[in-house]
Amino acid sequence: MTFRTNYTVNKTTRFRLLSEDQKARIFRGVIKTLNDTGANVHHEEVRDILGKNGCKVDGKRVRIPPEVVLDALASLPPTTTLYSWDGDEEMCYVEPGRSYFGPGPTPPNFNDPDTLERRPYLRKDATTVARVCDALPNIGYVQSLGSISDVTNGLADVYEFADMIQNTRKIIMNWAFSVENLADEHRIGIVMAGGEEAFSRRPNFIHYSEPISPLTSDFDAIGKCLYCAKHRIPQVYTPCCIGGATVPATHAGQIIVAMSESMVGVVLSQIVNPGTCIIIGGVQSILDMRRTIYSYGAPELGIMSAAFTEMLNYVGLPMYSTSGCTDTKKMELQSGIEAAFSIHMAMLSGANFVHDNGYTESGITGDIFQTVMDDEIIGMSRLIGGGVEVNEETLAVEEICNVGPGGHYLYEDHTMKWFRHHWQPTLMDRNSYEDWDAQGRLTMKDRIVNKTRDIIENYEGPASRVPEEARKDLQKILDAAEDRVRSQS
């Protein structure tokens, strides 16, 4: 092949919103906000740690000077690897240019897979979501799409994680009500990894928690952040900012607030355990000023998430973004339109972990059918994001000259070698009219429902491979959690 000097290659679609100057201005806004105003931190131990490490503490208020922020950013790990619970496979790399799409946490309702009607989220749904996500090729990590309503109050999170991890080898992003429950989940991760040492070498989950907009870290959220940092558990610390309500109505202003409130967690984590993995970002959307709904289908969600991703790239932080979600209540055209827009924006921006694929009704109802549809959209988007490969082989000039005018390429070895790179639909209809008619005139909704139910009925997940010993240990953890909750009430 010809050697080329200073030849620039675009391996993927290039997508930029902000110029270097714009990014620098936004970052200076973050630095000034943290230095001049800071955030309220409702946790004494955390305030102590921050105070002893260069932050200015005044009551609950913590102000973070620029040098402390820059030190924290400098100690972030360039990459972190997460493993399947059996330790056999590297499942996720937290690093620039890697994008993993998954569902989201904790809606109270679930779209019932049998009746297609909304109802409270049940324990069995966590297993369903884990199994279906395990089967979907474009879903890169897993969240539950709900908050279990039919177990002991206050233990929904622990049951959810114990059930889910046995039903998928993909990385689970779990959540917890409290540090005690997070410690239970940590034990579950350790059991599944085969011991404490194995877990610390090959972590098998990422923990998710949320500060509150504007600029507030509550006791549980920052407590969990501290726990993860101490134990070097990869974590997400991201708010859900409501444009025009909890943050400014302008996108640049929203990004400044969002980044500032998460930066409290970034600084804390790097002080406590330099090099521990922390991801920020969150849901960035607007309050619909007519309906007072936090919109999950707004185009603003797409553009703000993409801009935020660029900002985090600029400072070396991984981005937890949002896509594949909708404000509509039922599977219909709107859910597909909104999902496609946000997925493609997240893909082209290069966000790292992209959640809420499967959220409907503005985050109130989890819907595994939506996730299945999103899986198909992610596949299409990934192909576009992959760009056009340009080299001697793909230029195919030799083949073009060989076939010449008027010929065809269907017999060519080159075609045999490359046509499989074409994206293959699993839901999109490309039948002829006659075939479509003969097959029962199925709509997209029919195909989504059929595919989902087929996975639920027939997919063989990893559950049977969980060692008996581990299963017993998980039950012990659940029993101990039950005892603890009983003794507290």
Binding site: H42, T106, P108, S147, N153, G154, A156, F177, I212, T216, D218, I242, G244, A245, T246, L287, M289, R290, R291, T292, I293, G363, I364
Partner: protein, 212 residues
């Protein structure tokens, strides 16, 4: 020159807080009937605001401005209306329950009730049950509003209702609950009187229950 109540209504619709406040003061000074000021000025304006909001011609920040103007006028009118025995919307006490620091939804509801002419006592966030009980005793509200955004803190709303029962004051107040994960079924289960699905509709629902 007499104060033009039609103009007052217009200013209220436009969200001119200071001007509505000033005009209400002038109207009182001129000896206008407080009920007239309320009905033909403030409420006439808020009625239009309500209609326009439902028709999607007005947005929440505009509605809240108008509500604030309504509140500013009511503050001056209230003592006179009380003295004259005129019928008023009454008092609402509102807060977010223990363990929950979420503020915005509850504030939005409070502001909307202010716009409907209620005197709103906003207790804040992360409140013990006793704070609600004490506030009901102190302010004697017609309505108690509680909010929770977290599935963990939702049950605290039931605890507050129980605390009201234990204090023997449950039947003195209508209880309304809301917050993103709260459902109508949950509201019934814990014995609340009103479920507020969102800020605007909770005002209508509360009015219907209080006027029943």
């Amino acid at each position: 020159m007499a104060v033009d109540l039609g103009q007052m209504a217009e200013l209220l619709i436009a969200g001119k807080v200071d001007e509505v406040e000033k005009m209400t003061g002038q109207a009182i000074e001129e000896g206008m009937d407080p009920s007239d000021i309320l009905q033909k000025g403030l409420i006439a304006g808020m009625d239009v605001v309500g209609q326009r909001f439902k028709a999607c011609d007005m947005f929440i920040p505009e509605v809240l401005r108008s509500a604030k103007a309504m509140g500013a006028g009511m503050k001056q009118l209230r003592p006179m209306l009380v003295a004259s025995g005129a019928k008023m919307a009454g008092t609402m006490v509102i807060g977010t329950v223990k363990g929950d620091l979420h503020d915005i939804g509850k504030n939005l509801v409070g502001m909307m009730f202010e716009g409907a002419g209620f005197q709103v006592v906003n207790l804040g966030i992360d409140l013990e049950s006793q704070v609600f009980v004490d506030a009901v005793k102190e302010h004697k509200p017609e309505l108690l509003g509680m909010s929770a955004l977290l599935t963990t803190t939702m049950p605290k709303m039931g605890e507050v209702i129980n605390a009201l029962k234990e204090a023997g004051i449950r039947d003195q107040v209508k209880v309304m609950v809301g917050g993103a994960p709260v459902t109508e079924e949950f509201a019934k289960e814990i014995g609340a009187d009103i479920y507020g699905a969102n800020a605007a509709s909770s005002v209508d629902k509360a009015k219907a229950v209080l006027n029943a």
